[in-house]
């Protein structure tokens, strides 16, 4: 097998309604938009990938896909050249890394399928067949997406915290979740303190992570996190920012501190290690620019005593399953995977990806082990584009 040349790439931008109103400090949303990647090799094998679904990323993916035609999927390291030779050369910023990650994932899947290996095996090994996943808890339970003011009016009524607790208990009953991520609007420390206490009381054994997306200032966040220390939360995720702020907070609390915002690319990692800024690098495959970059981060972080974990937002089954394979492959990953798939009203895969007893099973078969469902895909398609291959 001398080469696995890329012959075509099909991109499909999709919009999928959520079954909840996601409320956090960054946005209140009711849908997720993603770009589905189908990368076909000259041998006829197609790999699946996925990335962000913004128009900018979709447009960039078309541009990168043209440059990808004829390239060898066996040499996935070279895909990063699409961004330029160095960070300085990357004129596309985060969008570039996310676009690259989507194409990279499809190339890994196509390669693994061609080699008749599961993606986990190609990444390292298939060590675990099921992976614990985390259920997101919105900052508040709203009936529809609205403005920030709508959200803060709701948060002013502290009795409303009960609705979030009931929502969490429903996830526990339905799917056996043992791990939860409470999004915070970072508006009211009193709301967060009361809600987290109620969650702990309602679910004494649950792993609970708390994520205000760095929208509390350092002083407020440190004061709040000190009060929360006795609850034994799994970790504080981006309680504040930036790297210096989160490092100072970490020094002041006992609970582990994680970030998905301040250590998000290669050049952030060493300063975080030197500054002892965080305990957990909650790396997002799409922010890090693909599987190899994520794997290098995990190995380096672990080598210096940090714990790598997999971040995600509301991704389709493609990226969700990719994260399962990565967690299975890398022994450095100990924490449960973030996952929002169970809050999507539909998926693009033929095989339902179900959460049972708080975990998801790795599909069997080569590559990701999943197949695209054309009918499901069409129902959520916003636009599609074929680059190379038959039209």
């Amino acid at each position: 097998m001398a080469k696995l040349g890329v012959s075509s790439v099909r991109l499909t931008r999709v919009s999928i309604p959520l079954t909840l109103v996601h409320a956090g400090s960054m946005y209140v949303i009711q849908k997720t938009e993603r770009t589905v990647v189908e990368l076909t090799l000259e041998n006829g094998v197609t790999g699946l990938g996925e990335t962000w679904g913004t128009p900018d990323v979709y447009s960039l993916a078309q541009r990168f896909a043209k440059d990808l035609l004829g390239k060898d999927a066996l040499n996935r390291f070279a895909l990063k050249d699409l961004l330029g030779k160095s960070t300085y050369d990357n004129r596309f910023g985060r969008n570039g890394l996310a676009t690259l990650a989507g194409l990279d994932l499809a190339a890994w899947d196509a390669t693994a399928r061609s080699l008749k290996m599961s993606l986990a095996e190609l990444v390292g090994a298939r060590k675990r067949e099921s992976i614990d996943v985390v259920s997101t808890l919105p900052a508040a339970i709203l009936q529809k997406a609205g403005t920030r003011e709508d959200l803060t009016d709701h948060l002013d009524v502290l009795a409303n915290t009960r609705r979030v607790v009931e929502f969490a208990l429903e996830q526990l009953r339905k799917s056996g979740f043992r791990s939860f991520k409470l999004k915070s609007a970072a508006y009211s420390p009193e709301w967060d303190w009361k809600l987290l206490n109620e969650l702990r009381e309602a679910m004494p054994a649950a792993r609970i992570r708390f994520d205000p997306n760095a929208n509390y200032g350092v002083a407020t966040a440190t004061e709040l996190c000190r009060r929360l220390d006795p609850l034994g939360l799994e970790f504080f995720e981006d309680p504040t920012g930036e790297l210096e702020g989160i490092a100072r907070l970490k020094a002041a609390v006992k609970t582990p501190v994680a970030t998905n915002m301040w250590v998000v690319k290669d050049e952030h990692l060493v300063p975080a290690i030197r500054r002892k800024a965080v305990d957990v690098v909650l790396g997002d495959l799409f922010m890090w620019g693909g599987i190899d970059a994520w794997r290098r981060m995990a190995r380096t972080a672990h080598a210096f005593g940090l714990k790598p974990a997999l971040h995600s937002v509301y991704e389709t089954g493609i990226a969700t399953v990719a994260n399962l394979h990565i967690a299975s492959a890398l022994p450095e990953v100990e924490y449960p995977n973030d996952s929002g798939l169970h809050f999507l009203s539909s998926d693009v895969l033929a095989e339902p990806q179900i959460v049972e007893d708080g975990s998801m099973r790795l599909p069997s078969g080569p590559g990701l082990g999943v197949t695209l469902d054309r009918n499901k895909l069409e129902k959520v398609t916003l636009e599609t584009m074929q680059i190379g291959g038959p039209r």
């Binding site: 097998m1 996935r76 080699l115 095996e121 190609l122 290690i273 599987i291 794997r295 290098r296 981060m297």
Partner: protein
Amino acid sequence: MAAPVALSYTHVHSLRVASGAEALVARVLDGSGNAGFGFTLNLDAGVARDMAAWDALGQARGVPLHGLLGGSYRKTVRLVRDELPAIPADWTALRKDILEGRHELLRIDPFAWGSVEMVQTIAAVAAAFDLSIALLAPNAHPWEIQYCAALAATLKGEDTRIIVRTNATKAVNVSGLPGIGIDWSVEPSFSRIRWQS
């Protein structure tokens, strides 16, 4: 972490190479009967078995080692004479030295560090800290140089090189052959090994 392949058979044989040194050669079979070979002149069979497992996987899939690990950064690797000592295979000490900025070039003996996975971990750390890696072929044996070339293909950094203690040619090619890309025939005694079935 070893190669992602289930093995049904492993066997290690000692061998006298042309220089008079003793080598350990490992042979493994995967579940489908695909064979892979590895070796060491350090007399630690673990590295030979690890190498053989990766070789079996690559042979079975028809791809070189770098195709399994993610890709290749180069087609040739510089071969340099260098008599400075290799970094001892002590991860704790290496991490401390890296944090203290004691290295620009990590002189790594892959046969002492023990596995492909360990070299990949060192490579990840080196990339993060913007360090380069030199892989030591301790006896400058052609097998060692070929194995180092297979590993070096996967290492980032313009300064990546193979170091030997003797006079060096300028560069060595990265093999495109399946597995670890070693030409076993350079040692006639290799073909005389009688492997247990």
